[in-house]
Subunit: 396 residues, 2 copies
């Protein structure tokens, strides 16, 4: 039986290739520090977990396709606290950020249309683009300058008749970059000039360090018809398993079309929405503590990396990822070697080779992404092991 | 801003058009019996609700993209109880049946490919087809003969070079038809002869009456590479809000491709999967009671319909829907009239005009779909009101 071309072409998870080696290492009794995934170890807020524990409806029923009204109303409050003014009608609750991006692409683009995305980017954008039949046009950014947005000419050089949108992840996974307001304004200008949507994935909004300020695409004036924001509670409240996100736009026609796609799949999970709703009233101090924790972790990873000769990386200002250029040729080979051939005190480290985050061929082969989602002690130990492994790998 | 063609063309929910009239009626104090939606009033099993109540993990984490192993293993047991032999590796857990159908279409078809579907069919298939860029080729079936599958020539006449699959809903929403084994065998033969996938939506498996037997596509021999089954717990356990379904195939390549799409969206909701898992051990007596209840409801609706002069319908053998041909010209107009202009003892009835379930133009305009998801007393009252309404409408 022939499968569809798109099914054959959709990218397999770049991490997945390494799983057999990780499993073999575990079988041999080697402990693996997982710096390869964005699953935080932070506890999910009690307020959310209590919702599951106290659910007392008799029938676990469908909710509205746009999401529970109760939750959408509360989301308006949440965004208002972040200086983002939206109405309930601008919000469609989705099954995590993934579905929000799929809906955004389906509504902004027809098959064959193009979306410009700064690379390196979150690998799953490839899968979403394949589902929507959309072509990703990569805008290359560089480790050397902290993955900052390139100048306008570089961006405009990528425009074609088929370009329908620019998509940003801000704060960035996998880069940790936080775009300054003037860069978001620049993108907005290009969008206005060329009649493009701007799809901003802002799921790491809270995670900014060193006084950096996050600028939402919805804060930009005169962009009401073009600004589309994607959000998720997965990282914000360490609730990845709840699968609750949302899509926001002040473009009424856009939201109306998204609603039709949303109606087809009926609704996002009901109790998980109620749990997400309970999180909105969490004290601000909750985030203060968590951000302090992540900042500490970032510093551990960054300091350890800069001590390794030949490593290039700029201290990231947001999210909980860092991309480092290593003095090696093939980070996938190195990642595999760390699992297959190296351990220190019976422990090793798993990270993500960064090549999978680039759409351009032959870029990022000497880069790795580290997710700093372990506690201080484990992270310190893991970075020490990475350093020792790299030394041995370079000599091998 | 221009939206995509597909966003503009995707069908809005046919029921939604009637909502303003329903809301206006409610505002005027009229009670509406909702026979228009498939939200059962049956209580969700306590075993499932208890899972939410006793969830005690500290971090609500991602699960595997294929679904929790625990749950997939238990699903093997569930299907075995139904005479369907599958391995855990054949199963991908999805965010409800909706996502399973989208994954099936994405993997079986490229944009522009065709899928033959007996009509009337579940309207949301239109949305899924639009998302996947697939063309639905309707195979018309008729109220007069209980929406039975037409003879082979009728089916084969619809084949083209672009046909990639035949999709069935069995037991059928909105028809209530249960295809006899010989008809499933016929479809399998056509699929073998023409190298087509058969996608079977079997979410109403348990809901069969009068000794009818459900035949799963996975029971058919020599169809391993072509048979794809879509399932969901929404109706089975009256847990529509949990959003848990699955996609099953013994075609390894197919499942491997689906896995790549599944990885892009990370995972289905975690706690909801645990709840679904708990439902598998529910006693068989649970279904016995529920099926007895639905059968009673079906009989109330069917008997009431046959007492109305000029109504055509065959007693449905499955699911909890019935399509009736009424002695009217425009069922959408009648539906609206019932909400806007009619009430009896300050009550009226909302049902689904059936035209939206047909892809062919100008079919089904005199038909309605009734979901028999209310208790005995309410349903009896609702059918009485429908009868009185129809009489008055015909005279108006």
């Amino acid at each position: 039986m022939n499968l569809s071309e798109r099914a054959l072409n959709v990218q397999a998870s770049p991490i997945r290739k390494l799983m057999p080696f990780a499993n073999a290492a575990k079988k041999n009794g080697v402990h693996i520090y997982h710096l390869n995934i964005g699953q935080p170890d932070i506890e999910t807020p009690q307020e959310m977990l209590d919702v599951y524990r106290h659910y007392d409806e008799k029938v676990l029923a469908y909710g509205p396709s746009q999401g529970l009204e109760l939750y959408r109303k509360n989301l308006v409050k949440y965004y208002d606290q972040h200086g983002i003014s939206v109405d309930m009608e601008d919000i469609i609750v989705t099954t995590a950020g993934s579905e929000a991006i799929i809906f955004a692409l389906l509504t902004a683009c027809d098959p064959g249309d193009e979306v410009i995305i700064p690379e390196p980017f979150y690998t799953n954008y490839n899968g979403f683009a394949k589902i929507a039949g959309v072509k990703i046009v990569p805008l290359t950014t560089f480790a050397e300058d902290g993955f900052a947005l390139p100048e306008n000419e570089k961006i405009e050089a990528l425009l074609s008749e088929k370009t329908k949108a620019i998509m940003l992840c801000n704060p960035g996974n996998p880069t940790g970059a936080v775009y300054p307001r003037k860069d978001i304004e620049r993108i907005a200008n290009i969008a206005r000039k060329n009649n493009l949507f701007v799809i901003a994935d802002e799921v790491y909004r809270e995670f900014v360090y060193d006084g950096a300020e996050h600028t939402s695409i919805l804060e930009i004036a005169d962009l009401e018809d073009k600004a589309i924001m994607v959000d998720s509670i997965s990282k914000r409240y360490s609730a990845c398993g709840a699968r609750i996100g949302c899509l926001i736009s002040r473009n009424e026609d856009f939201i109306q079309s998204v609603t039709k796609f949303a109606q087809a799949r009926l609704c996002p999970p009901t109790i998980d929405q109620l749990a997400a709703n309970a999180a909105i009233d969490i004290e601000k101090s909750y985030f203060k503590e968590i951000i302090k924790e992540y900042k500490k972790r970032r510093d551990i990873v960054y300091d350890a990396l800069t001590e390794i000769p030949g490593v290039v990386c700029v201290k990231p200002k947001g999210a909980f990822y860092i991309i480092a250029k290593l003095p090696i040729e093939d980070s996938e080979d190195f990642a595999r070697w760390m699992l297959e051939n190296f351990s220190y005190q019976n422990k090793t480290v798993m990270f993500a080779p960064a090549q999978g985050f680039y759409a351009s061929q032959s870029i990022g082969q000497d880069e790795i992404r580290i997710a700093y989602i372990l506690n201080e002690n484990d992270l310190t130990d893991a970075m020490n092991i990475l350093k020792k492994g790299l030394e041995k790998y370079q000599r091998s």
